[in-house]
């Protein structure tokens, strides 16, 4: 197959997702309001006025609202990934997914296009959020905002692939509440998004161990280091590996002959 149709397909899927996002103003607002409420309300209440002890990648003491920003960036991407999976379940219920799946392109390619589209939507959300945080006074080094982009792509693929995998398992839209309770909240709260790992360890060693194993912790740390012009090899390796494994499972999940789709009649 010539490359142009592939690119055409990519443009189609990405364009649809971006347009859908831009036309859904309430979704855009909701995606922004959620982390901003955390930043302005939660972080203010827990501001730790005497500062968060010096921890990598920060080179000096920081306020809690500075600490929490990379975690909220991860939160934006996590919710966006799940939102994307929700739309896949919706598409399947409405029957529109069949149009996508009868396309002449391989299914893995369509899914990767879908993931890229969802990731780009989350990237837009993240940069708008960071712009507001910048005006609020939380300012990372200028180059950090560029270094952040690859980290956002990896995280977007990771949580997006998780969403795709879940969408291949969920039969009905109503079951999405379960995803919230059993996937999003544990992933977010049992991570370094809100508190440094050393702080969690002081509270509970078990929770610390869970948080240290949570891939979302590594995604958040990858984002945190990138935003402050640092490269965290361990976090990047784990995040990329988890993203690849989840993507493979999602592709398998959408394979009509072998995956969950066959059993669930998608």
């Amino acid at each position: 197959m010539r490359p142009m149709p592939w690119l055409h397909c990519l443009r189609g899927v990405v364009g649809r997702e971006l347009l859908r996002f831009l036309h859904q103003r309430s979704r855009f607002l909701a995606a922004l309001v959620r982390p901003l409420v955390w930043l302005f309300v939660f972080a203010t209440g827990f501001r730790m006025a005497l500062g968060v002890a010096m921890t990598e990648p920060y080179q000096t003491y920081i306020l809690y609202e500075v600490y929490i920003v990379p975690g909220l960036v991860g939160m934006i991407q996590l919710f966006n990934g799940m939102q994307s999976s929700l739309s896949m379940v919706y598409d399947r219920e409405m029957g529109s997914m069949r149009v996508l799946l009868v396309s002449p392109f391989p299914r893995w390619y369509l899914l990767v296009c879908k993931l890229l589209a969802s990731t780009l939507v989350s990237v837009v959300q993240v940069y708008v959020f960071l712009a507001i945080a910048w005006v609020y006074g939380i300012q990372a080094p200028a180059l950090g905002y560029f270094y952040l982009l690859p980290a956002l792509l990896v995280t977007g693929f990771m949580v997006g692939a998780l969403g795709l995998l879940l969408s291949s398992l969920i039969r009905q839209l109503e079951n999405f509440a379960g995803v919230m309770n059993f996937v999003i909240f544990p992933m977010f709260f049992l991570s370094s998004a809100l508190y440094p790992l050393w702080r969690i360890r002081e509270g509970s060693y078990l929770v610390y161990q869970i948080a240290a194993l949570n891939p979302f912790t590594h995604a958040v740390e990858m984002i945190r280091f990138a935003l402050y012009e640092r490269f965290n090899a361990e976090a990047v390796t784990i995040s990329v590996t988890v993203a690849a494994v989840l993507l493979a499972l999602a592709i398998l999940g959408y394979n009509p002959s072998r995956g969950m789709m066959a059993r669930k009649g998608g």
Partner: protein, 340 residues
């Protein structure tokens, strides 16, 4: 189902986003940008370690640790800049470090419990506050002799000397007073009540004012040094979200251009930034735990703070007024001074 509802618009949006993606990937591989290099050395006295840490201004790393007497606190350079004097309280002496070899080359007896020292800009004298004796000792560091002893209030602590060498102010932490000493007559000629437990004195570079910090009061009293020697203004601090009792004013530094004053606020972990002309508090900068003393570098582009409890030194960039890096040193860093 159509994935492409508005083809042209879609292409524009997608292309607009793919560009930065590739740019970001490229930039992600670039090397980190180093801090602006500063050829200066920063000396930090570690009260519990009996050492002086030497930090390289370019790398902001400790390059040498000098062993000195017991309980080193205040430091000052000799007038010719060849030696660093360190008050070592438990050894009741002043250790003198050669700045080329970074070794203690001699030591001079200072009287009981020397805490703060100042060097006379005109004469080879070093002034020492002897906390337990209620006096300020005047030592000649060339002749290695005691010149005189000046009685002041109870528990002298802070010392400040005017740029022309005319006035010395000694603060006494139990009397809560600033004693203004005429260095021609070598006696205290004025006494002024200031805030509770005065800690530190710093003259403005034009010599018109002296800023006296008070630890328990959490204030800075600005004394008029031209005519009345009275308090002309009192600066108070209110760090949002921080308990009032943790706001304890200690170290003071003033820029020579008359623009900024910086005050270390102890366990509130903040350095206050003040407009020297209006006395308005402009900002609070978060640093390490229990910030104690401050030092500006020669070109006044950086401010260094000692953070006693967290055992580090924070470097603040004056341009932008932001804490850039904290450097671990010894235990309980007390004083800091930058090589001129």
């Amino acid at each position: 189902m159509s994935f492409l509802t508005r083809r042209g618009a879609t292409r524009t949006v997608a292309q607009g986003l793919l560009g930065p993606v590739m740019g970001g990937l490229f930039l992600g591989g670039l090397a980190l940008v180093p801090l602006t290099a500063q050829a200066e050395r920063i000396f930090v006295s570690n009260e519990k370690d009996n050492t002086v840490s030497v930090i390289d201004g370019a790398s902001l790393e400790v390059i040498e640790t000098i062993r000195v007497g017991r309980r080193p606190r205040a430091m000052a350079f000799s007038s010719d800049g060849s030696e660093l004097f360190v008050a070592v309280g438990d050894d009741e002496s002043i250790d003198m470090i050669d700045l080329e070899t970074l070794k203690v080359v001699r030591s001079q007896s200072s009287g009981e419990d020397p805490e703060v020292i100042r060097v006379d800009p005109n004469r080879p004298y070093v002034y020492v506050s002897n906390e337990d004796d209620n006096i300020v000792s005047v030592l000649d560091y060339e002749r290695r002799s005691l010149v005189t002893e000046i009685p002041v209030g109870v528990e002298p602590e802070g010392l400040g000397i005017s740029p022309d060498g005319r006035w010395l102010i000694s603060t006494t932490e139990t009397s809560n007073m600033a004693h203004i000493i005429d260095l021609e007559a070598m006696e205290a000629v004025h006494h002024r009540l200031v805030g509770a437990r005065p800690r530190h004195v710093e003259f403005t570079h034009d010599g018109r004012e002296a800023w006296v910090s008070a630890e328990i009061a959490g204030t800075v009293s600005v004394l008029d040094m031209q005519e009345t020697f009275d308090i002309k203004h009192t600066i108070r601090f209110d760090v949002p979200g921080v308990p009032r009792e943790t706001v304890q004013a200690v170290g003071v530094e003033l820029t020579s251009d008359g623009r900024y004053a910086f005050v270390a606020l102890g366990p509130s972990n903040r350095v206050a930034v003040i407009d020297q002309q209006s006395y308005e508090v402009l900002d609070y900068i978060l640093v390490g735990q229990r910030v104690w003393h401050l030092a500006l570098n020669a070109d006044e582009s950086r401010l260094y703070t000692t953070n006693g409890v967290s055992g580090d030194v924070t470097m603040i960039e004056i341009d932008g007024l932001r804490a850039v890096r904290s450097i671990p040193v010894g235990r309980f860093p007390w004083g800091v001074i930058v090589e001129p």
